[in-house]
């Protein structure tokens, strides 16, 4: 991809975000009452994040095994209320250690 294309993508995303955040604040006065829409917008952040995670996460490291290790640690830690940064750093460390062990055992090169 050429860099002009990347700039176009980045700038159009940034403008979209600004518009999304600012415009409704200026024009809307009424509340959304439709139950389906309200539910939909409550569900959407979670489903978008999940769709981003699965299945790509399992190919985000050198081998699915180390990715699995990282995912399990991340799920457990965030279940017990650890913050975003702790969770993701621990996931990285876990995957790293898993790969180091696998390399020393000769399973991964």
């Amino acid at each position: 991809m050429n860099s002009q294309n990347i700039y176009i993508i980045l700038i159009s995303m940034a403008i979209t975000m600004i518009a999304l955040r600012a415009i409704p604040l200026l024009f809307f006065k009424k509340k959304i009452e439709n139950k389906f829409l309200k539910s939909f917008f409550t569900y959407i952040p979670g489903t978008v994040l999940t769709a981003l995670i699965v299945p790509e996460v399992f190919s985000s490291t050198s081998t699915p095994i180390s990715a699995w290790a990282g995912v399990i640690v991340a799920v457990v830690l965030s279940y017990f209320g650890r913050g975003l940064f702790t969770v993701s750093v621990c996931a990285v460390i876990t995957s790293f250690i898993t790969e180091v062990i696998m390399r020393s055992m000769g399973i991964l090169n």
Binding site: M1, S3, N5, I6, Y7, I9, L10, I11, S12, M13, A14, T16, M17, I18, L20, R21, A22, I23, P24, L25, L26, F28, I32, K35, L37, K38, S39, F41, T42, Y43, I44, P45, G46, T47, V48, L49, T50, L52, V54, P55, S60, T61, S62, G70, V75, L77, S78, Y79, R82, G83, L84, F85, V87, S88, V89, A91, V92, S95, F96, E99
Partner: protein, 250 residues
């Protein structure tokens, strides 16, 4: 006039805990962005986007080589449409004599966390307080982003193969707390996972989309997220009371 300036300061101070929480997050995302091939100035525009999940969408598509800007914007729009709702409910919380430029400035740097904090205040809020409240987290985020894009070069090569999981760690940490709080959210997560494997398992879908000259990964993702949310809101609509419970914890 002096009193109003104090409002900004008070807001700024109230926002500092959020700023501190944002700093390492934006740093991690910026590191991933530079490793994926963004140069320094690209990474700065990337940070101004100021949305963790939106930036995740960018990285995910970008790594797959998606070139169509519309795909990025569309997914970003869907993922962050909730800001329309935030803004609508905020507009009822802001003092009615607040000048438009203050509303606008607050609006463009509003986030989930700022929204939650603002809504916990009693009574109507002044524009200056809200601007302060939103400004310190923004500053923290930008600082983290710039730092992250500068230090990426210092990261040893041996760690790089596993750094890809960092972003997914962030996503997991964003999803799990609300899934833990609400069984309905948890179900929607499970539905999304199932759908995404089903779509992945049917090769004809990917081939058809590719034949239109579009990268199938993005379409699959939007389809999964939107249909899972629609199915869940149809089968298990979220009641008013649950809505406030879920929001509080975010």
């Amino acid at each position: 006039m002096i009193e109003k300036n104090n409002d900004f300061k008070r807001g700024f101070k109230d926002g500092i805990p959020i700023a501190l929480a944002y700093l390492p997050i934006s740093m991690a995302i910026a590191v991933d962005a530079v490793l994926s091939g963004l140069n320094f100035s690209m990474a700065q525009i990337f940070g101004i986007m100021y949305t963790g999940s939106g930036q995740g969408i960018f990285l995910n598509y970008f790594k797959k080589g998606e070139t169509l800007a519309l795909m990025y914007v569309f997914m970003l729009f869907i993922a962050n449409f909730r800001y329309v709702i935030f803004s609508i409910s905020m507009s009822q919380k802001i003092k009615s004599d607040t000048p438009t430029w203050q509303k606008l400035l607050f609006g463009v740097i509003n986030t989930d966390e700022v929204y939650v904090l603002a809504m916990q205040n009693q009574g109507a809020l002044s524009g200056k307080y809200l601007m302060g409240l939103a400004f310190s987290p923004f500053l923290g985020y930008i600082l983290g982003n710039t730092t992250g894009s500068l230090v990426t070069g210092l990261i040893p090569d041996i760690v790089k193969p596993v750094l890809g999981i960092m972003l997914y760690g962030l996503f997991i940490a964003m999803v799990i707390p609300s899934a833990k709080k609400s069984r309905k959210i948890l179900s929607s997560v499970v539905v999304t996972i199932i759908l995404s494997y089903i779509l992945e398992a049917i090769p004809i879908i990917g081939k058809t989309i590719s034949s239109w000259g579009i990268n199938p990964a993005g379409i699959t993702m939007i389809t999964c997220a939107v249909s899972a949310a629609a199915i869940c809101s149809w089968i298990a609509p979220i009641e008013e009371k649950e809505l406030s419970d879920i929001k509080e914890e975010e």
